[in-house]
């Protein structure tokens, strides 16, 4: 198990380094000059040149790459071009929104999707099954930002139960902070829940027809007992894969949902930073996201090994 984890971990570190290089290169060839963007079209060339020098934009690309990588090892992400504040501090300030948002959305999507999938599989072919799967199909098809808009129209504009957007800091009022995350996390979670429900249903239906369930039935277990004791655990393998992948989708989804609900999260920070060509801020935020996603992949791999003992004994791929 330890060897398995170690090999996986080294692979992830390499992925991270490659991601850093690609992010840097991709952003460096983007057209656009942050200094010109900050000073606008009436600025004199010497004012723009002065600002470029202040921001350290004149150094060669390789030098900037290594000072960025080197800085990250000691926790220094550099200074934002447009805001003049430490990038690490700006990102940290946004995690208080994005982490709870993704975690709540993740819990919601699993909490809604998995039971629906199990229910549909157990009542396969019934009216409930068809109805739930039609709903799930609809859920997959609806984009999260549009669904978010509908939620706002109902719960904020018409009923006025929840705020239409914005965020009250946790330190100021934790209940209001949580209330600001309810609608966005539902908007983020529901399409993912629909996918999970479909995957869970298919996996469980497959398992129900397998030999070991028949053997368990032959040993005298009822179908329910056999499915609960042997089926669900085996069906969890494909579901875990999807859950791991979904985390990446949820994180990407925050970029859109945080804009629709004007939440001060990491997704919105990246969105604004790209439009302002605050490249140093974009780079470091992207790396944090890459880290989060591959960290989840790592945990998913470990969870695999826990669910399926065969993976532990086999040499890691």
């Amino acid at each position: 198990m330890i060897r398995f984890a170690l090999t996986k971990f080294l692979g992830l570190a390499a992925t991270l380094l490659v991601a850093a290089a690609i992010t840097f290169a991709a952003l460096d060839i983007l057209p656009g000059d942050p200094a010109r963007f900050i000073l606008g079209i009436n600025a004199t060339p010497d004012a723009v040149a002065a600002l470029r020098e202040q921001l350290g934009l004149d150094a060669p690309a390789l030098q900037r790459f290594f000072s960025w990588i080197g800085g990250m090892f000691v926790g220094d992400f550099g200074l934002s071009y447009t805001q003049g504040q430490p990038v690490g501090q700006l990102i940290a300030g946004r995690l208080g929104v994005t982490i709870p948002l993704t975690v709540i959305a993740m819990i919601l999507s699993a909490g809604i999707g998995l039971p629906i999938g199990i229910l549909a599989a157990r009542r396969r072919g019934s009216f409930a099954d068809t109805g739930l799967m039609v709903l799930a199909q609809l859920g997959v098809a609806i984009p999260n930002f549009w669904f978010g808009m509908l939620l706002v129209l109902l719960f904020s504009v018409t009923l006025r139960w929840l705020p239409p957007g914005g965020f009250v800091p946790w330190g100021e009022n934790p209940f209001a902070a949580f209330a600001s995350l309810i609608l966005p996390s539902i908007a983020l979670a529901l399409p993912q829940a629909a996918i999970l429900a479909r995957v869970m249903r298919t996996a469980l239906v497959d398992v129900q027809g397998s030999d070991y369930i028949r053997t368990a039935r032959a040993k005298g277990l009822t179908l329910s007992e056999a499915v609960w004791k042997h089926g669900v655990r085996n069906a969890m393998l494909p579901v875990l894969t999807i859950l791991g992948l979904q985390f990446a989708y949820l994180v990407a989804g925050t970029v859109i949902v945080e804009n629709v609900f004007y939440l001060p999260g990491l997704g919105r920070l990246i969105f604004d930073a790209i439009s302002a060509r605050d490249l140093i801020l974009v780079r470091s935020s992207v790396i944090i996201l890459v880290l989060a996603v591959i960290g989840t992949m790592f945990l998913t791999d470990l969870a695999y090994a826990w669910v399926d003992p065969r993976l532990r004994s086999r040499k890691a791929e």
Partner: protein, 492 residues
């Protein structure tokens, strides 16, 4: 059924909460489309900076009022020498910065020294390049000497780019702005909102509002919802296409005014075929302004025939110079050697009036055989490709700077327009301070630009604000960038 009734009753009860307030509110929540990147108006061009701090947190020696006229601010009065080269400003007494330090002549000297310094990063440095010296005569008098007369100097002194900052705090103004204005900066939750509070030590008339929160809402639909849900009380300028919702709702008032934004179909005058006057005239004849305004700006905006705002006292209506006439356009194209028209690219920045307007312009020019390929760019690409590298045929953009007709006198500007006659008019204008003579020159300049059809002059951008019906005192027009709070109050 019972459940539905209960839900409806609950919703109804909730919607009545807050109606019983007795005294008028003194807090205000304003929606802003863009979040300012920083808060120092002397070191950045973003309009969002001025929307938060101009005349609210920071003040200049003069200020621009709602009509675009120059009014006293930190200078209560001034004397101008007969040759127009020396300005003596008499400063107000008792003004203090929000950190408690006193405002005096040294702050003025420091501020202007910072703007004109070699390493200055002021976005409008060129406007103040004519300053020769700034001296403190005594603590409440400052003398500014110019290298040459400048008819717009007092206006430029009143801009956000020249607000007075203190040597003790200037370095930190980007994140914790310290000015002399009626409101002091309190808190900025990056990515979400920013709060100002009334400054108790303000030297002038105290505003009615005590607390103002700016909420940054990038998404157009989210802005509509925020207004409808009452989570913000107004927006200074929002998408014209969303206005019908609010016009029909008695809880809101729609405030439509003008800006300094001349919206243009910019032509690369240095590049064929746009270097040919006949081609430019043909394009001018092919543009149907009414249709463009209806489509690109939901009908809000005033047609223009030259590069000048219609609300200015020096404006002359030149929309009839090349009236909409497709036959005339085809004839001119044939004379220019393009009987079947030609192909060109139209590079568009990411603003609705340009992306939508681009489609309309393309369909209008197609009628005379000019086939446009539309390319959508983001702001940075636009700044690099079009503005800096001049690598474009046509673009659509609104030039929002006040009094910016002088940009046509710069042959290196991205218009690529090099006209000695126009440059002579501008040179003369800069050296003239007499009002009547200036008016004559400004009219001559407008006419020259219209006749030369330098750009396709489309319309003056409108400012379309939506506010709670119970608010009053908002600026209708935008002669400068900013949302000036001092006159805003709740009526109940």
């Amino acid at each position: 059924m019972a459940l539905r009734t209960a839900v409806a009753a609950f919703a109804l009860a909730l919607s009545f909460v807050g109606i019983a307030d007795a005294a008028p509110r003194t807090d205000l929540r304003i929606g802003l489309v863009l979040e300012p990147p920083a808060l120092d108006p002397t070191a950045g061009a973003a309009a969002a900076i001025d929307e938060v701090v101009y005349q609210n947190v920071f003040e200049g020696l003069t200020r621009i009022d709602e009509t675009g006229a120059v009014q006293p601010a930190l200078a209560s009065s001034w004397d101008v020498s007969a040759d127009g080269l020396s300005y003596t400003f008499h400063l107000v007494e008792g003004a203090t910065f929000h950190d408690g330090t006193t405002f005096d002549a040294d702050d003025v000297v420091f501020t202007y020294g910072r703007i004109t310094a070699a390493d200055s990063v002021n976005a409008q440095k060129a406007l103040y390049a004519g300053i020769d010296s700034v001296t403190a005569v005594n603590t409440s008098t400052v003398e500014l000497k110019l290298k040459g007369p400048d008819g717009l100097f007092l206006f430029n002194v009143g801009r956000g780019d020249a607000v007075i900052v203190a040597p003790e705090s200037a370095a930190n103004n980007a994140n914790t702005p310290i000015g002399t204005g009626p409101f002091k900066f309190v808190n900025w939750q990056k990515g979400a909102d920013l709060t100002l509070e009334q400054y108790a030590g303000y030297w002038g008339t105290k505003p009615a509002l005590t607390k103002v929160t700016y909420v940054f809402i990038n998404d157009a639909a989210a802005r509509v919802n925020a207004l409808l849900a009452g989570s913000i009380d107004g927006i200074n300028n929002t998408d014209a296409s969303t206005l019908p919702v609010f016009k029909a709702d008695p809880r809101f008032k729609v405030v439509v005014g003008s800006t300094e934004g001349e919206t243009l179909l910019v032509q690369n005058n240095a590049k064929a075929p746009f270097s040919d006057l006949k081609v430019r005239q043909a394009i001018a004849h092919s543009l149907d302004r009414a249709e463009i305004i209806a489509g690109a700006s939901s009908g809000y905006g005033t047609p223009i025939g030259s590069h000048f705002p219609p609300h200015s006292k020096d404006y002359v209506d030149l929309t009839g110079t090349y009236p909409y006439d497709l036959d005339a356009a085809r004839k001119l194209l044939a004379e220019a050697g393009y009987p079947d028209g030609f192909s060109a690219t139209l590079k568009l920045p990411p603003v609705p009036y340009a992306t939508v307007g681009g489609q309309i312009v393309a369909s209008q020019l197609a009628k005379v055989g000019i086939k446009l390929t539309q390319v959508n760019l983001d702001w940075n690409q636009w700044l690099t490709d079009v503005f800096t590298n001049k690598d474009y045929d046509l673009t659509i953009i609104s030039h929002v700077e006040p009094f910016d007709i002088g940009i046509y006198a710069d042959p290196n500007y991205y218009f690529g327009y090099n006209d000695p006659d126009f440059q002579a008019i501008m040179k003369q204008l800069n050296e003239t301070t007499d009002e009547a003579a200036r008016k004559e020159l400004l009219i001559a300049a407008q006419k020259r630009l219209a006749e030369q059809a330098v750009n396709g002059y489309l319309f003056e951008l409108a400012q379309t604000g939506v506010w709670s019906a119970k608010l009053e005192g908002m600026w209708q027009n935008a002669p400068v960038e900013g949302v000036v709070l001092s006159g805003i109050r709740w009526t109940e």
